[in-house]
């Protein structure tokens, strides 16, 4: 058996590689996460109030998910101002995350670090002005500034605590926040015009993207009201439950060839490699949200969603280009929601938090729609509030099956088109990026 | 097989415990020879870092000897030691130093016999515990 390794993979959050085995009868492609996270173990024995800060190493949205669990453990209902501030932070995080992914996508077409003096010599006619990189990063830094104002730090936030947030937003920055959200909206709209109309419909770009589509899978997402909705592979709603029931419906399982567990619906097929026996495997993320076919509440995002439907047809979609476009739709949506929330009226109130007195529950669950998709935390604590068990349903586990399949499709497609090793690697990376 | 001889570092206060240790020697009381004494001006100057460093450098036990509360030559140095001792004990336990390897004892200048008794007890206790092995050097459970 001859194995080909594509390692390390570009843009992936975790150390990962793709292993291709060319057997005599079949070709097997494995998407491997090559290091364990073991966050459940790290959390054991820690005081539960420290978990929002510890778990933010998984991604800043986990900070908020963890604080939601704390609210429930202590029965401390956060004041509206704190809920708004957390939501504003979350939308800012969605914005930065998607913007960075789109930046990465553009860097696959042009080298972002090429010395400006040599540009034009080594590349042919550029697809876009390199100034776009600067503009994206400028907007990203504005959004990071907003995240710092709201969260204390942009990447590993601090402010969400049990029962609310740890501090007010200072009046001195209200104007700044409004300024930031305005420029984020206008930049997001510009980006949809440029990327959506020009780039994603440019044959040269479409040629560089592997024409990957994956087998239809159920999609899980959280609606605005906070219930978790499952859509089957035809896009019909098939189940609806609250975050408390998540771990009754969903379980994790391991495969020996990857450190990342897979999430699947209990009692259903879970064969990663067999589309006929995999009705329990599902995916989450921006595309899962759009496949729910819901109208979006904000005008520009709804417009962009309609454009998405007009161009690609009615959802559900299971293609790479749809995944990239869903990032754009969510980018606009996040920027508009930021505008709505970056409002002094929403960010002020008589108190920042309900100070919890003592532990009310031994176990609680909390869910948040993170930039990468739905995340759910469940903690079990002893009577002193020390963590006995922490279950973390990360977007990476829920999309693991999807990534395995996309990687496989990307490899097959590259081989059918007789691509070189380097091109195959690039195809794999571009297919894994938007999830 | 040779009997395990623990190494114990004793930080003894110049005004009480060190004098007691001296007196115990002069009185020819039986003491096990496992203790290395470091004379300090006051038990209050024994920073938790000293204790940690002693263990890190191969001590099997650490004894801090100070004056009885109220008798401190510097008024309240020994109270400072007392305040630290509980947290230090819990920290040491959490990072793998068993209970009994660290002791804080009040030994007045006149209590030579008590000093000898404390030392002998501690040596026996640590002998039972065995040599101190840092958590990071203990063989892993189960895994290869």
């Amino acid at each position: 058996m001859q194995a080909t390794l594509f390692e390390p993979l570009r843009w992936q959050e975790q150390p990962s590689r793709v292993a291709v085995y060319n057997g005599s009868e079949e070709r097997n492609v494995y998407f491997q996460i090559t290091a364990p996270k073991d966050l459940g173990t790290i959390c054991q024995g820690r005081p539960v109030e420290e978990l929002p800060r510890i778990l933010s190493i998984l991604g800043p949205a986990h900070h908020i998910a963890s604080a939601v669990v704390l609210d429930r453990l202590f029965n401390a209902e956060p004041p509206p101002m704190a809920i708004n501030m957390r939501q504003a932070l979350l939308q800012t995080l969605v914005f930065t995350h998607h913007l960075r992914k789109l930046f990465f996508f553009l860097t696959s077409l042009e080298d972002p670090l090429a010395d400006r003096q040599t540009v034009g010599k080594s590349f042919g006619q550029p697809l876009f002005s390199r100034h776009l990189f600067d503009e994206i990063m400028q907007c990203l830094s504005l959004a990071q500034e907003a995240a710092t104002i709201l969260g204390g730090r942009a990447d590993h936030p601090l402010t969400a605590v049990a029962g609310g947030v740890s501090r007010y937003v200072k009046p001195a920055v209200y104007d700044r926040l409004a300024e930031i959200s305005d420029s984020c909206v206008s930049f997001a709209i510009r980006l949809t015009e440029f990327l959506g109309s020009d780039l994603f419909e440019n044959p040269e770009v479409l040629e560089s993207l592997p024409a990957v589509s994956f087998e239809p899978m159920p999609a899980l997402s959280m609606n605005d009201a906070g219930s978790i909705v499952l859509h089957d592979r035809t896009g019909q709603e098939s189940d609806r439950f609250t975050s408390d029931d998540v771990f009754d419906k969903i379980e994790l399982f391991r495969e020996p060839w990857t450190y990342e567990p897979f999430a699947c619906l209990k009692g259903k097929g879970r064969n990663v490699f067999d589309a006929n026996d995999s009705d329990g495997l599902y995916f989450v993320g921006p595309l899962a949200g759009l496949n729910a076919r819901l109208e979006l509440s904000t005008p520009y995002a709804e417009e962009e969603r309609r454009r998405f439907v007009d161009t690609l047809g009615p959802p559900p979609h299971f293609t790479l280009i749809a995944a990239y476009r869903s990032l754009l739709v969510e980018l606009v949506r996040a920027s508009e929601r930021m505008t709505g929330l970056f409002n002094p009226e929403k960010l002020t109130g008589p108190s920042t938090r309900t100070v919890p007195q003592e532990l009310q529950q031994q176990q609680a669950t909390g869910a948040v729609e993170s930039p990468q998709g739905l995340i759910v935390h469940r903690y079990r604590v002893d009577d002193r509030g020390m963590v006995e068990e922490a279950d973390i349903l990360d977007a990476a586990s829920q999309n693991n099956a999807l990534l395995c399949r996309t990687a496989r499709r990307a490899v097959e497609e590259s081989m059918n088109r007789n691509r070189s090793q380097d091109e195959t690697k690039r195809n794999i990376e571009a297919s894994l990026l938007p999830f | 097989m040779n009997r395990f001889e623990p190494k114990i570092i004793a930080f003894l206060c110049n005004w009480c415990s060190y004098v007691a240790a001296d007196a115990a020697g002069v009185a020819r009381l039986t003491q096990l020879p496992n203790v290395r004494v470091i004379r300090v001006n006051c038990s209050g100057m024994v920073d938790p870092g000293y204790v940690v460093k002693a263990f890190a450098n191969g001590a099997d036990g650490v004894l801090i000897g100070g004056c009885h509360p109220g008798d401190c030559h510097y008024i309240s140095g020994n109270i400072k030691t007392l305040r630290r001792s509980f947290l230090l004990k819990s920290l040491l336990k959490e990072v793998g130093v068993e209970d009994g390897r660290f002791r804080l004892e009040w030994i007045a200048a006149s209590e030579g016999p008590r000093y000898a008794k404390v030392v002998n007890e501690m040596v026996e206790e640590i002998r039972n515990l065995g040599p101190y092995v840092p958590l990071s050097r203990r063989p892993a459970k189960g895994a290869a």
Partner: protein
């Protein structure tokens, strides 16, 4: 002056450090006029083959802790190829949050299932403990923090990459950086080996909260109190590690109402951050009664996991240092 060559890599950690390096390039001051990035898998898609050959890097920015045998061999290979090694972020500098596994038994969790079928790929084995970069190879410089603040990361890039005549270097004002670092940024001469790009004193020196006499009679868990915004957190009975932690962040967390957890590692003069904190906390107990002090002490939970939150593998004196049994020469490529 020939352009320098850079390598950037993350072993076991999140990607925030790498994103910060990218952000410094775009948001603060571009470094590509002075240096070419020769190896950066995350951003440019470099592969391991790109390390073959006899070219060398002037500087390697290494982020993330060492958890698997692959991480170890990456650290060894990059060290061999690089003239200077910069540890970026708490994971790389001290082991970081993954280092807490050393307390909870990293080896016990090595539940790796060996593939039964030969057609299934194997996984790199996890090591029996999580290590900081300095446990594996010699580290020349350190930028601590989780993630490192952009100004310190920039100072490091300025000092190590940009030549003396670079305009941004000349305009740099090194506010609270130690003298050797700010001199290096200004002059173009490398700072002394082993320098840390951060302050020398403790976080308290730059924390904006008002410190009075620290005395308290009851201990609080951070969830139990909405702390007074202007007063020292430790005085209010919350465990805050500013006293033992190196400054450089400007009191970021304490300003946001969250206690310091020591992501910059121990301050220069501290021997062991945990022991230092024990000393600092207990000096604030307002009691002389053994029983009372004992009760107060019991209010502090999970001391090791909190006091060594980011520093367990490298700075917890009693847990530091590689265990003899874990150097498997055969595993290192």
């Amino acid at each position: 002056m020939p352009k320098k060559k850079l390598a950037v890599y993350t072993a076991n950690g999140c990607r925030v450090c790498e994103n910060s390096i990218l952000d410094v390039h775009f948001q603060v001051s571009p470094f590509t006029p002075w240096a070419d990035v020769g190896f950066w898998p995350y951003l440019t898609g470099s592969q391991w083959q790109d390390l073959d050959g006899d070219h060398r890097f002037d500087l390697c920015l290494f982020a993330g802790a060492v958890r698997t045998v692959d991480d170890r061999s990456a650290a060894l290979r990059l060290r061999e190829k690089s003239r200077l090694m910069l540890a970026v972020g708490a994971c790389s500098a001290f082991g970081g949050m993954p280092g807490l596994l050393n307390l909870n038994g990293a080896a016990d969790k090595a539940d790796l299932v060996v593939p039964e079928k030969s057609a299934e790929p194997a996984l790199p084995r996890t090591e029996s403990r999580v290590s900081a970069l300095s446990d594996i190879v010699a580290v020349d410089y350190v930028v601590p923090g989780c993630p490192p603040p952009k100004n310190l990361l920039w100072a490091a890039i300025q000092a190590l990459i940009c030549p003396g005549e670079c305009t941004s270097r000349i305009s740099y004002s090194a506010s609270r950086l130690p003298d050797p670092i700010s001199q290096s940024v200004a002059s173009g001469i490398l700072p002394p080996r082993g320098s840390t790009f951060a302050g020398e004193k403790a976080v308290c020196a730059s924390c904006s909260r008002v410190k009075e006499e620290k005395k308290f009679t009851s201990v609080l868990r951070p969830y139990e109190i909405d702390p007074d915004p202007g007063r020292c957190l430790l005085e209010q009975g919350i465990l805050c590690q500013g006293v033992a932690t190196r400054e450089g962040c400007g009191g970021l967390c304490t300003a946001a109402g969250a206690p310091c957890r020591g992501c910059f590692g121990k301050a220069e003069a501290v021997f062991d951050p945990g022991a230092k904190m024990i000393s600092a906390i207990s000096s604030t107990f307002d009691s002389t009664e053994a029983a009372e002090i004992k009760t107060m002490s019991q209010g502090f939970v999970d001391l090791a996991g909190t006091l060594y939150r980011y520093t367990m593998p490298a700075q917890c004196v009693l847990l530091a240092g590689p265990a003899e049994d874990e150097i498997h020469a055969g595993d290192v490529v």
